[in-house]
């Protein structure tokens, strides 16, 4: 149902609390909900991960298939990212063709993977101009309790980190080999609640938000993608602050994505 409404007093309460640096679930403004990653969740995929951030759950699966390189990049493979915000995951989502929200998640994740050069697309070229691997990053939202972008990105990059190129199955090489993840982008999303900017928003906080800002960074400390969303505004100093915080959170998430412990 699109007409899900949040009580105004609930929103006002969230803003009141934020003014004191507090949140409904007891977190501080710069605190994520617990993050867990289950790599290899889907056996039919060439790489996969189930990621939870609090009650938010997202599964990502990688599929690699032989295809044709784009004419303007004859020496590179093809990368495609697609997020499905299926109605199973939230009363706010409707069945049918992808809504703008799903397309935004797909594109923001895609930009970060691409700009960070997470995978070396030239290594996915088989025969220049003729044959290359097409790498699909499919993201399926199961439980939408807020902050889908960060969960989708983490699921996507964790799945890529554990992915195998099925070269043997398609008769392209003698054996399958790991898809090399050369950089590890992560997204960190913040929302403005009055004068406070909090990380990892819940659905309630997203609905109370006066602007959302997502910053993707990589392990080299580069900022590789950004997206400002929702109605609201940020000052350049806000952006600088958010970038600084995103780098700290990003480093912790990168350890998780690689399969380590934070």
């Amino acid at each position: 149902m699109t007409n899900e409404v949040t009580a105004e007093i609930r929103t006002a309460h969230i803003l009141d609390m934020a003014a004191e640096g507090k949140r409904l679930d007891g977190r501080g403004p710069d605190e994520y909900r617990p993050i867990s990653i289950e790599p290899g969740f889907v056996a039919t995929a060439d790489g996969s991960a189930l990621v939870r951030i609090g009650e938010t759950a997202v599964v990502s699966g990688i599929k690699l298939e032989p295809g044709k390189p784009f004419p303007d990049t004859p020496n590179a493979g093809v990368l495609t990212t697609n997020a499905e915000l299926v109605p199973l995951s939230s009363p706010m989502f409707e069945p049918g063709p992808p809504q703008p929200g799903a397309i935004e998640v797909s594109r923001v994740v895609d930009r970060a993977i691409r700009a960070a050069e997470a995978i070396d697309l030239t290594r996915l070229c088989v025969t220049p101009g003729e044959k290359s691997w097409v790498c699909y990053v499919d993201i399926h939202v199961l439980d939408h309790a807020g902050n889908l972008i960060d969960a989708a990105m983490l699921a996507g990059v964790s799945a890529l980190a554990h992915a195998t190129v099925p070269a043997k199955r398609f008769g392209i090489a003698e054996s399958d080999y790991p898809l090399d993840l050369q950089h590890v982008p992560t997204e960190c999303t913040f929302v403005r609640l009055g004068d406070t900017i909090v990380v990892d928003p819940t659905v309630d906080e997203e609905q109370a938000a006066q602007g959302r800002l997502t910053v993707a960074t990589d392990e080299l400390g580069r900022v590789v993608a950004m997206q400002k969303g929702l109605v609201g505004a940020f000052s350049p100093d806000d952006v600088r602050d958010v970038v600084r915080r995103a780098l700290v959170h990003g480093d912790r998430m990168r350890v998780l994505a690689r399969g380590g412990r934070a």
Partner: protein
């Protein structure tokens, strides 16, 4: 069925009467059901059945969207069965296809046969099934998950709906086909049973069976459904069982 292609037909039944994965003809694949794993839905269930992974969620009864689907005397039951792109060997293009639409329709109708929809006129009960990993029998796994999700959502119904496919491999009637058996077997007969009445509310068939084989397959399916029914009840009890004497203490 079909699509044998260039691949070699595997040995589906050993001389000892064991199947590709070592099961007997009347044996189910391992089945694990979890009730209520999701937080946004009114009810949910996750089913791992052999190499299938299927999530189901139920929303409702709630206001009907689009409104023209509203029925004056009962709830409309809508089902969306969907396969994730990565759930099969060859990536499935996201979006509606004819197979998914047909499966959604027969599943919705199976539930319409058992849900007391007249208790909630002008509302919608929405069932969503997401196949995350497929290995034959996903419509039955989806039905089982959806049925547990409906109970988890407090929806009134005649009974839970266990479901299973019976097939024919190497000339023998076999319970709960896995992928190789489905691909290279001779018949596939998915069914869903109402244990309370002993009747079938989902039944499809493809392949070749004699009336005698079909009769045997129906019997085997009913036995399989009863075993699945126990697992469904177990999943719901796991989630809802009250600590003994909690009531006495509170009173």
């Amino acid at each position: 069925m079909g699509s044998v292609g260039a691949k070699e037909v595997p040995v589906l039944l050993s001389p000892e009467g064991l199947r590709v994965d070592g099961r007997r003809l009347d044996e189910l694949r391992p089945l694990r059901i979890q009730a209520g794993p999701l937080h946004q839905a009114d009810g949910s269930a996750f089913v791992e059945w052999g190499a299938n992974k299927v999530m189901a969620a139920v929303y409702g009864p709630r206001e009907v969207h689009p409104r023209h689907l509203q029925q004056n005397n009962k709830a409309v039951i809508q089902c969306k069965y969907n396969m994730a792109a990565f759930s099969v060997d060859e990536r499935k293009r996201p979006g509606l296809d004819r197979r998914s639409q047909e499966i959604s329709k027969v599943i919705a109708e199976a539930f319409e046969s058992v849900v007391f929809a007249e208790e909630f006129p002008r509302t919608s009960i929405d069932i969503y099934i997401e196949v995350l990993q497929a290995n034959a029998g996903t419509r039955c796994a989806g039905l089982v998950a959806a049925s547990v999700a409906l109970a988890d959502a407090g929806i009134p119904m005649v009974d839970l709906l266990p479901a299973v496919a019976v097939g024919k491999v190497a000339g023998e009637i076999a319970l709960d086909l896995k992928k190789e058996e489905d691909n290279f077997g001779e018949a596939d007969l998915p069914m869903a049973l109402v244990p309370q009445s002993g009747r079938l509310v989902l039944l499809q068939m493809e392949g070749h069976m004699t009336p005698e084989e079909l009769s045997k397959a129906l019997d085997l399916g009913v036995v399989g459904c009863k075993s699945i029914y126990e697992k469904m009840k177990g999943a719901l009890r796991d989630r809802y069982t009250v600590e003994p004497s909690a009531a006495a203490e509170a009173a």
